[in-house]
Symmetry: C2
């Protein structure tokens, strides 16, 4: 592999629309006037091989999706990826992430894997310095795993999440509803899914959240706004896209603007 | 590579949004209820290495984009692609296509490369049996290369294209305008780009077109309708997505429906 072959790698497929959403954000955050100005990218999506992340974390399924994610990362590296990201918040739970990180280390991989979760916490600290109370919306897997609160508390934030009933409602209605959840209907998002997401936002706001992390890659498809009322909506996928550009070719990164959608 | 590694390959990057659009159509045309139901896919996008297709066809640039496309196809095959498509109409001009086909043949590639143009002509024959007069909207490169009219006439269609002034206007305004063309602003498409596209459609309708081929992968981003008034709008990217699914796993292909968007 030569410098000419270097690429940004994306592990998609978890879910498939989330991988595309990250690829699209990479384009939108790139300074480009012609086709040729965009950065070289490789998106791998093997959804049938990546077990449901939440099912694994809840013990419904004992197959760790880390193995398939590791294989995806190695394949990306084979074709020239030098920096990569995983378009799935839930896959960043330590029970999953520690396994693929260990395998990557043992394989002597040179791939620079961006950690979406800590990049999101960094982003919050830098871009919203006045914020103390942060809410998190997510799948029930991420909610139970609790890695966002753990990390954000280390950064000095007070963290608010939904109660179990609210969380289950958001997960079942907005994300996994078999008729209108974002997992089956993303472009456009159904009115029902959007409504369930806004209800989640409002529940966190009532509890005092000044910023909300849209902590499942499908959620920002339903909440594309960067600010809702006076609450920041932080999309970890957008942060990940920007970090990948920064790491690969910093001069092509668009300046940040809260007013864009 | 095993059966388990088999994937659908997409050559994107020409342009980058067209590659994503094809990947999105693959998802939308798949029968799926969960993440795991979607098909394994690999999208490669090296836009900086693929010279502008129209510039090559017009002689503005003598570097044939076929070489980069061939490299992309080989890379896709290395990671398991068994069937692949190229998300660019203009790259199907014989001056480009014959070169990468020859290289593929010489390399003993086993990849099944779908031909978007002949699949589109097949689709028109099968899905619009009452249509005789077909219009084509495209880049000026595809317009000059003339491969759509040549092929469609072989299928027995009468073919209508824009005159040079209309064609140049469509190319410059809807696709390549540096401020609002779809090449720089695709989601959402600007009002100006949409207007230039609709003007193109109306010009072809006035000349009698009963069906219009949206013959540049960016055009259907601005005209997502499958029918406008009483005119069929045929999106070769959508046809390509459906053909890739058919070739890879036919039972997952959604039935065709003219009424969807």
């Amino acid at each position: 592999m030569t410098q000419r072959d270097a690429k940004i790698g994306i592990v998609g497929g978890a879910g498939p629309y989330a991988g595309l959403d990250l690829a699209q954000k990479l384009l939108q955050q790139t300074i480009a006037k012609t086709d040729q100005d965009y950065l070289p990218t490789l998106l791998i999506s093997t959804p049938g091989l990546i077990e449901d992340r939440t099912d694994f974390l809840l013990g419904v399924n004992e197959n760790n999706p880390a193995d398939a994610i590791y294989n995806n990362l190695r394949d990306l590296e084979k074709l020239g990826a030098t920096v990569a990201g995983i378009a799935c918040n839930t896959a960043h739970a330590p029970e999953i992430r520690n396994v693929f990180l260990e395998k990557l280390k043992n394989s002597k991989s040179k791939l620079k894997l961006v950690d979406m979760i800590s990049e999101t916490a960094d982003f919050l600290s830098n871009a919203c310095p006045e914020v103390n109370i942060v809410g998190v919306l997510s799948t029930i897997g991420t909610w139970k795993a609790g890695f966002y609160p753990t990390l954000l508390e280390k950064y000095g934030f007070n963290v608010i999440t939904l109660n179990e009933k609210e969380q289950q409602h958001l997960h079942n209605e907005a994300l996994f509803n078999p008729l209108y959840g974002i997992k089956v209907q993303a472009y456009p998002v159904s009115a029902q899914a959007r409504e369930a997401l806004i209800e989640g936002v409002n529940n966190l706001k009532k509890k005092g959240a000044q910023a909300i992390i849209l902590g499942c890659t499908e959620i920002p498809i339903g909440i594309p706004e960067r600010v809702l009322g006076n609450t920041y909506c932080v999309d970890p996928g957008l942060v990940l896209a920007r970090t990948l550009i920064r790491e690969f070719c910093n001069e092509k990164l668009l300046p940040w603007n809260w007013n864009e959608k």
